[in-house]
Structure formats: C-alpha cells, structure tokens
Symmetry: C2
Subunit: 184 residues, 2 copies
C-alpha cells in the first residue's frame, strides 16, 4: 500500500503549527487546524489516505473523538464505507461497551456502541483512525473496543506519531499501524 515519500512528509509537517505550552507548560502541541483550513494541504492528505486505503479490504472506518472524526468521516465517505465514532465515556446514547486506560494521573475511558458494526458480515473489517498517537492509551483501548464489538481492527492509521513515546509499539501488539508523520 502507498506510503508518503520524504518530500510529501515535509510538506505536510510544514502545514502543522507548533503551539508552545499547550495544554500545559513544557508541551509543544501539534496544531492540525492549519492543515485542515488549507484546502490544498487537506486535499493532499485525503488523496493520499484514499489511494492507500482503497487497496485495503475494509467494511467500516472508526474515528476517535474528536479530531479522529474529521479524517475518519471524510475517508469513510471517500471509500463508500460506514463511519463509526468511538467516544469519551458518557457521550454515546445507546448501549455501549467501554475500555478504561491509564493516564499519568488517574484514568480515562472510551466507548463504542455495542451494535456499531451491525451488518451482513460475521467479522467486519475496520480501519481505525486518529490524528495523533502519543503514549497510545486511547488508540489501544479503541482497537480493543473494535475487536470486542465483534469486528476486527485490520489497521490503525495515525496522522502524527510522537515517536519519542512508545505508543506505536504498544498499538502494534494489537493491530497493524500506519503513521504518516513521525515527530521526534
């Protein structure tokens, strides 16, 4: 499947803004809104994702609350697949299954509707997408939820990978992972 060459990666990284000390002092936040509101850059990214994933057999695209909704919904639409939101606890209205995961202090929780992948197939194939993987807690929990809901997470696509953290390695224990842009 297609992946980005070095020039393409540099072009896309140039569209992402670094915001210092957000959400707290010492953290440099990768702001993708400057990529999204740039029509050429957004289309460039979506064209790449489309070319890569039209070759993969999938039935659904699942996106993680809330920036994963942006790439996930646009990609599901391009690929003519259904879109499934994975959300923070308490946001989905129907019966859910949930996964907790550890944070630096305390824990967080994500949920999926129990019938999110209802359809004709016995074990539908799902592409998981989010904008960023850091320590991997959310993505690992989301991939587990997909499998618990009776589907199979065949790949997780992360636009940005903070490669100085080990999230990608953790996620690779569960599913194939494609990260477009590695941030060192």
């Amino acid at each position: 499947m297609e992946s980005l060459n070095q020039n393409d990666k540099e072009y896309l990284l140039d569209q992402i803004r670094d915001v210092k000390d957000f959400p707290k002092p010492g953290i440099v936040f990768k702001d993708i809104t400057t990529l999204l509101n740039n029509q050429k850059a957004f289309a460039f990214l979506m064209d790449h994702l489309h070319r890569r994933y039209k070759e993969l057999e999938i039935d659904f695209v699942a996106g993680i609350d809330s920036r994963g909704f942006i790439f996930g919904a646009a990609l599901a639409d391009r690929l003519n697949k259904g879109f499934v939101p994975i959300r923070k606890a308490g946001k989905l209205p129907y019966t859910t299954i949930s996964q907790k995961y550890a944070l630096e202090y305390g824990f967080d929780e994500v949920e999926i509707h129990i019938d999110a992948f209802k359809g004709d197939k016995e074990e539908p194939k799902v592409l998981l997408i989010d904008d960023l993987i850091a320590t991997g807690g959310t993505a690992v929990a989301a991939a587990k939820l997909i499998n618990q809901a009776g589907a199979k997470c065949v790949e997780a696509c992360m636009i940005l990978n903070l490669s100085f953290l080990d999230g990608k390695k953790e996620l690779e224990k569960i599913t194939s992972v494609y990260s477009l842009l590695d941030v060192k």
Copy 2:
C-alpha cells in the same frame, strides 16, 4: 439549491435511532450513529449535501464540536474546501475568540482560532454545519464567531431541527438556515 423531497426525508429519518431518557429522563435523543454506520444512508446524505452546496459560492466549511466535524469534514473534502473546527472552550491551542451562550442553567462557550479563515480573500464565505439545532444557542454563537473572525457565514446547515424549539428562528436572524429533517 436542491432540498430533500418527502420520501428522502422519511428514508433518512428512518435511519436515525430514538434513544429514550438520554442524556436525562424525559428526553428522546436522536442517535445519528445508526445513519453514519449504514454506508448507503451516509452516502445518500453526503450526496445530497454535495449536490446542494456545489452550487453555493463558499471558501470554507466550519463544523461544530464534535458531531459537526463528521458532516463538515466530509463535505469540505467533497467540495475541495478547507475545514475549520469550532470547539468548546479550552480545546483549541492557538489564540481564539469566543462566544458565551446561555443554557437552561448556567452558560457554555465556543471558540474559534482567530486566524481560522486566513487566505487570499478579504471576507471569505463560510458554510456552517452541525448535526442538530435545538434552542440554537450553540449555532447562533458559532455563526457570530465566524463573522467576528472576519468571514461571512452565508448559510448554516443543520441535519436535524427540533422544530418544537425556536432555535432555527433565532439562527435565521444571523444567517440563511437549511435544515434537512424537521422533528416535531
């Protein structure tokens, strides 16, 4: 511009699940996840939005946190426009402008990046989109933010309109409003 006929409306409404007593007793929540994960219904909706808005001169699509991201990003991608997220307070990393709006008890606040509509045009045209309009507080605040950020909200597109509330009338004081599905 195209709008839906009665059969199309009934088809789409049939794809949306009513969940009783969510988020609190007495409320019937309109669950659009059953529309989104149904590939045919999602494509039907996006095809309609695409046909309608390819006729409207716009420069950006803005979506409201977080279900507005789903329709907004997919539509921006189809129309080859940039996508701008409007978010709950504290979520956007760069300099923002904000609007407060009253809730039943207390208030809420939405934000937009101050440079969200940066580009060649002096007053870019923006289509605002969200999944639902109820009392209209969020949508009115979002439309005001677009105008405050130096752009012009030329239409607000709401998939569902709870027409027993008066949100649509309030929003129409600021911008043209297109609601696809009216719930009485």
